[in-house]
Amino acid sequence: MIKALIIDDEPLARNIIKEYLLNFPKIEVVEECGNGFEGLKAINQHQPQLVFLDIQMPKITGFELLELLDELPAIIFTTAFDEFALKAFEANAVDYLLKPFNEERFKKAIDKFLSSNREEQTKPVQHIVEAISATSQTQNERIVIKLGNKIKVISIYDITHITADDDYVKIHTAEGEFLKNQTLAFFEKNLNPAFFVRVHRSHLVKIDQITKIEAYEKDSHLLILKTGQKIPVSKTGYPKLKAVLGI
């Protein structure tokens, strides 16, 4: 038996998938979820092999949901119209179904899932998330973080700076610090360069948080944030900083 999960905020959209799945007795729908939070809980609880995932959903998007998973089940995106989803699929998902899709198209997606081997289906999470994030707009406006079994959504406007910490990055906000399994290079690439500047190999700073720049040692500088924190500026970081501040 193959365990499947349907995550879509429209009940009728879930119905049609269930209806089409009647032709595949080997696949059992273990749960239906109406939003990303429920979906995350259900994935962790049931460990399904296959997930039908909508992208635009309440609270967190389908993409953000994937970011919060440690291990990725096979994903079939079901979405109305999304150029980003197309790109995301090209990078990784088993298939994407553009709503409204017919039964033959659905069957093709399932066949694709059934014939593909397991190794191919479980790609490293990091990979798919990066591919998706790079093309998803809302992704770059907020960051989703797992805190135990809770989900925290951080608006990028609340961030003061981000520092590299081994395999993780530490996201600093007025509320506190949050760890996320991601590289600093990823954030440098995806966050709006009008707001953030990388001043050091392990420091990415929100530009409007900078209050002062002090000469530190020969060739190096120290940056002081509104919060009072001091951030080192590297030799290569200093010209970048000067450029964004226009000095």
Binding site: L12, N15, I16, K59, I60, K99, P100, T138, V153, Y157
Partner: protein, 344 residues
């Protein structure tokens, strides 16, 4: 080439009147010098007709070529040459018909510099008037064209703002219909009709004001479709009394705002969502308030406005030339858009 000032009938009559006045004036002046009547009349008429011709010539030639900058100097030279030709032509004609003889011929020679100066004055004035006339015509033409192109741009922008229907909405609705055909074919048919009626309404091409009642009916179609899509998660409340329903507003103005409210209401919360739409009449305005719940923590709106808000703002600016007609506020977990439509 623009029409010459002499083609303007009013101008033409004034011009002919002035020719007549100067002819009379010249005749009077000549009699003061004891020129006999016959000679004075012939001289005045011939000289002034010739001068009028010169004026017509310079005015017409300037309609083909309008000088710019330092080239105005050429016009002065051209005026002088023309005045010279005029005086020369005058002598030829007078000599040919033997108008002046004996002592009188000496008088004619004496009068030549004066005639030249007068001719130059008139031809110069005519040239100046013509240049001013053509420049003004050109400016009018330019302003008219600019006005027209502005109007066209505005129309295009307005229609594109009006027709911005979210493709998501259409495809998702079709998907819902597809799902309904399996279990509830009657509901599916009903939704097809609602969707058709709604789409027909969005295809309106003109921007003439419609009654709030009509807009609300159209909005109901949209809301009914959305309710089928989202099941019991979506509730709506529309309140307006009968007097307000006859007030007018631009068509499809509420649509993007309600779309926005639904989008942020539904995507920001997990529970049931109620969208409130209320209309009241206030002074000379129709005031419509749209309220949706939102979560400041996860809201996409913290960046500011969504497309629905900015496009509505732009439309209002294009129609009423005002930017203060749409305001938004966030209060107690509610996002409120307030729209004011001037009633004329």
């Amino acid at each position: 080439m623009t029409a010459s000032p002499l083609s303007n009938s009013k101008f033409k009559w004034v011009f002919l009147f002035l020719v007549a006045v100067f002819t009379a004036f010249q005749y009077y002046t000549l009699t003061l010098f004891h020129i006999d009547n016959r000679t004075a009349i012939n001289d005045s008429i011939i000289a002034n007709i010739l001068l009028a011709l010169c004026c017509w010539l310079i005015s017409n030639s300037l309609s083909y070529y309008q000088p710019k900058g330092y080239k105005y100097l050429f016009v002065i030279v051209w005026c002088k040459v023309l005045a010279g030709i005029y005086v020369y032509a005058l002598i030829l004609i007078f000599d040919n018909i033997a108008l002046y003889n004996g002592d009188n011929h000496f008088f004619l020679q004496l009068s030549l510099p004066v005639r030249f100066m007068f001719a130059l004055l008139f031809i110069g004035s005519m040239a100046t008037i013509s240049i001013l006339w053509y420049t003004q015509e050109e400016n009018n033409e330019f302003a008219r064209r600019k006005n027209e192109s502005d109007k066209l741009t505005k129309e295009i922008e307005l229609s594109s703002l009006r027709e911005k229907l979210q493709p998501h909405f259409l495809f998702n609705s079709l998907n819902s219909i597809s799902a309904l055909t399996i279990t509830q074919p009657k509901e599916a048919r009903k939704m097809v009709h609602q969707l058709s009626d709604f789409l027909r309404g969005t295809l309106r091409k003109d921007d003439t004001l419609t009654a709030l009642k009509t807009e609300f009916q159209h909005l109901e179609l949209y809301l009914d479709i959305e309710k089928v899509r989202f099941g019991n998660r979506l509730n709506t409340q529309i309140s307006a009394d009968d007097t307000v329903l006859s007030k007018t507003l631009p068509p499809m103005l509420l649509q993007p705002l309600v779309e926005n409210a639904i989008k942020f209401g539904l995507y920001d919360t997990l529970d049931e969502v109620t969208i409130n739409i209320s209309a009241i009449s206030q002074h000379r305005y129709l005031q419509i308030t749209i309220t949706n719940p939102f979560d400041p923590q996860t809201s996409h709106t913290n960046k500011g406005t969504g497309f629905g808000l900015s496009s509505t703002q732009r439309r209002l600016q294009l129609i009423y030339n005002r930017t203060d007609l749409l305001t938004t506020e966030k209060r107690d977990g509610k996002f409120i858009s307030i729209l004011k439509i001037p009633q004329i």
